[in-house]
């Protein structure tokens, strides 16, 4: 039973560039949430996708956008990268039947130079 997978593992970008991160949920899960974790802090909620639509959104600017595909996988896009966007980006999956029990992937470490 595959857990949550994310790609790539690491990524280095420069300011102003755009980035796309990918996530495949745990088998049997249909809901994907994205979190940003700055060094030394707890994860902060970006948004959640279910049935290919954004259900909830945290306090992040419109530069952060996402998408969910019919197979439940998801992408996180960040435009016009800033130095402060450097962080570990975590994807968590859950089932709509138990939406708050979320399982996390290993994360993508994004470094913006």
């Amino acid at each position: 039973d595959a857990g949550v997978t994310q790609s790539p593992t690491h990524l280095i970008k420069t300011r102003g560039q755009q980035v796309t991160l990918r996530c495949s949920p745990k088998s049997g899960h249909d809901t994907v949430s994205w979190y940003q974790q700055a060094l030394g802090q707890g994860p902060q909620f970006i948004f959640q996708y279910y049935e290919e639509e954004e259900r909830q959104r945290g306090n992040f600017p419109d530069r952060f956008s996402g998408h969910q595909f019919p197979n439940y996988s998801s992408e996180l896009n960040v435009n016009a990268l800033l130095l402060g966007d450097s962080a570990l980006y975590l994807c968590a999956s859950s089932s709509v039947r138990v939406p708050d029990t979320q399982y996390f992937g290993p994360g993508t470490r994004l470094t913006v130079l």
Binding site: G40, G42, P43, L88, T101, P106
Partner: protein
């Protein structure tokens, strides 16, 4: 949540002893709580959860206690092992998303 920067609270425990990690949550309406373990360079790993209609739940070597009166959550780890060394986060939820508390770094002394 409140930022703790790079200076996480640290708990140092002798191998074989019991560990107790505490967490204060913020929303009295939260009805679901989870403890996660995060090792360096990895994503948070689910340990144990509890709903607000319970005050105690036990797993394998772990117990979570919930005190809604003072909005306090604790994680007890029995017979702590070197592999338990990690940062531990509590998270609360009311109809999602998860809101994470301050992490605590557990250091196990062999």
């Amino acid at each position: 949540g409140e930022s703790v920067g790079l200076h996480l609270p640290t708990l140092s425990v002798q191998e074989g002893d019991n560990s107790i990690i505490n967490c204060a949550y913020s929303n009295s309406a939260s009805d679901y709580f989870i403890w996660y373990k995060q090792e360096s360079g990895k994503g948070p790993q689910f340990i144990i959860d509890i709903r607000s209609n319970m005050d105690k739940r036990q797993g394998q070597r772990v117990t979570v206690l919930l005190n809604k009166t003072v909005k306090h959550l604790s994680l007890q780890i029995a017979a702590t092992q070197p592999g338990d060394s990690a940062v531990y986060f509590c998270a609360e939820s009311l109809d999602t998303p998860l809101v994470f508390g301050k992490g605590t770094r557990l250091s196990v002394i062999a």
